[in-house]
Symmetry: C2
Amino acid sequence: MPRPRSLTQEQLASAALAVIDRDALAGLSMRAVAQELGMSTMGLYRYVDDREELERLVVELVLSAVDTEPPDRDASWRERIEVMARRLRDTVGAHPAVVPLTITHRHRSLGVLRWSETVLGVLTEAGIEGERRVVALRGLLSYVIGAIQLEHLGSLSGPGTVAISQLPPADFPHMAETARHARNVGPDQEFLGGLAMLLDGLGA
Amino acid sequence: MPRPRSLTQEQLASAALAVIDRDALAGLSMRAVAQELGMSTMGLYRYVDDREELERLVVELVLSAVDTEPPDRDASWRERIEVMARRLRDTVGAHPAVVPLTITHRHRSLGVLRWSETVLGVLTEAGIEGERRVVALRGLLSYVIGAIQLEHLGSLSGPGTVAISQLPPADFPHMAETARHARNVGPDQEFLGGLAMLLDGLGA
DNA sequence: ACCTGAACACCGTTCAAGT
DNA sequence: ACCTGAACACCGTTCAAGT
């Protein structure tokens, strides 16, 4: 790893994120980021080993914006978990184009680790311990990750619903009927509703 | 769309899947698939508009292998949902390298639509109707999708746990302790445990 | 009509050369 | 020491040419 001089890795990640937000993920290239920074393409390799590391920095930049301060202790532990889940969802949702990157690079993110640490603290205060706490954390994380993707990459509301309404109703009777009800369920209600199922199951 | 002659789209998808299974997702290219089929690269464009359509066919091929027959009606509706969740997870898990592709192309997959139709049928028989059924289906799908990814792209067990054990324990006390318990939780137990939380919440 | 290979405009990255 | 541009080995895809 070379030692940065005029730039920080964070500035590099910001430039890459700017490219992605403007030109979508397909627009991300070493050349595009270099141009965004007004430097030569090869100059990037002074700050980064390869494209993969650049992607990891972008994911880290996005996820490090998650507020991981423990929520107000006056709230019930259930409310505090809801707050944490919303924070993660909203932070990623601010940059939907990076969602596919988070999939491959999420597990190395300090932001998610800090988020997990705070959630584990809340679970512990709720009296959830040992293996049950492992399962609870992983269950919550799985749900939030999946929900973010469903929301931003082909949702039941939006274009997904259109596709469903074009399905042969004879083969998909339940889908046809569900699509009608889905129109009345907004993304927030959907996200919090699924989360409520999980929390009910956790014994809140 | 051109009309196929010597090949079907399914054969094309199989060849692409073979390339992915052998050389990982990075090895997938139009040239590699053409070589796998013993034809010219441009010959592929007779069967497919572009690379994206090829990827969609691969996802469809994998997901169409999910058994969507309604499970044994002697089982409780909770057990039947568990069967459906396991089927989806195990089918995708047979080709972990395509997981990143399923993320972008899943929503157009007939396999997932059929899976959803069957799950909705079970939920209906359980007396879950209207908007609550929408939320239940989406919650289940979110969880299964997220859990598949967590399992195959950076799990808490495996390399993820190693990373966690290298974290400064002073900053991550709960993570350190949880990692110890995580060693005793296998992937199946983890998957079914999180699912059980959801099903408990659904009122099984 | 069906299929092909050369060519184009990209990509990430290596490497030798500049200051 | 730091930074650069040409070059290499790849991409997906266009297009004119073959049978």
